[in-house]
């Protein structure tokens, strides 16, 4: 799982049927200090996240399939699964 910042929502009319009705967001991975690190990517939302929220993103398909319970043939790889309240980092 990755700690990310929600950059913004994204719309797509033409998409694979597995994505129907699922909110899509662009998310930006952040480090333990909240600084951007690495390239942004796309994730579906499972926890009603909002723009600017710091979130936990699952980046592996099997966990997503377990949550969605739509069978074994679901082409979705990343999903927002938690909203981070705060992060404690040892000095």
């Amino acid at each position: 799982m990755r700690c990310c910042r929600v950059v913004g929502p994204m719309w797509a009319a033409v998409k694979h049927p597995a994505f129907a009705g699922r909110p899509l967001f662009v998310v930006q991975p952040v480090d333990e200090h909240g600084q951007d690190t690495g390239a942004s990517f796309v994730a579906i939302d499972n926890v009603q996240a909002g723009v600017g929220d710091k979130v936990i993103v699952l980046t592996e398909g099997n966990g997503v399939r377990q949550i969605l319970q739509m069978g074994d043939v679901v082409p979705i790889r990343s999903m927002i699964v938690g909203i981070v309240d705060h992060v404690d980092v040892a000095p």
Partner: protein, 101 residues
């Protein structure tokens, strides 16, 4: 999943079993501002995307799951055509605090 811009079409007469009849496109992965990220790659198209379209792709094993039948040698599949992204501009600042957004 990640964003990409379709750069062109790939034509391959001889392909691995399972790839027959699949449309292959050349895609440049990009960020939310359409800036290139990494190298151009080949991806199977499932949504009739065309050259210049901003699309989103799924990689690794889940790419094959976007196809029917799904047990095919594919590691990148275009699964949606993006209509819009509501992302703040690269130099956007918070109007109250002046901090970068």
């Amino acid at each position: 999943m990640y964003l990409g811009i379709v750069k062109g079409t790939i034509v391959a007469e001889r392909k691995a079993q399972g790839l027959e009849g699949k449309k292959l496109l050349l895609v440049q992965p990009v960020d939310e501002h359409h800036a290139p990220v990494g190298d151009v790659q080949a991806a199977v198209d499932t949504v009739q995307a065309g050259e210049g379209d901003l699309v989103y792709l799924v990689g690794s094993r889940e790419a094959a799951l976007a196809l029917d039948p799904w047990f095919v040698p594919v590691d990148a599949a275009i699964v949606g055509i993006v209509d819009g992204i509501d992302a703040p501009a690269r130099d956007a600042v918070d109007l109250e605090t002046g901090a970068p957004r």
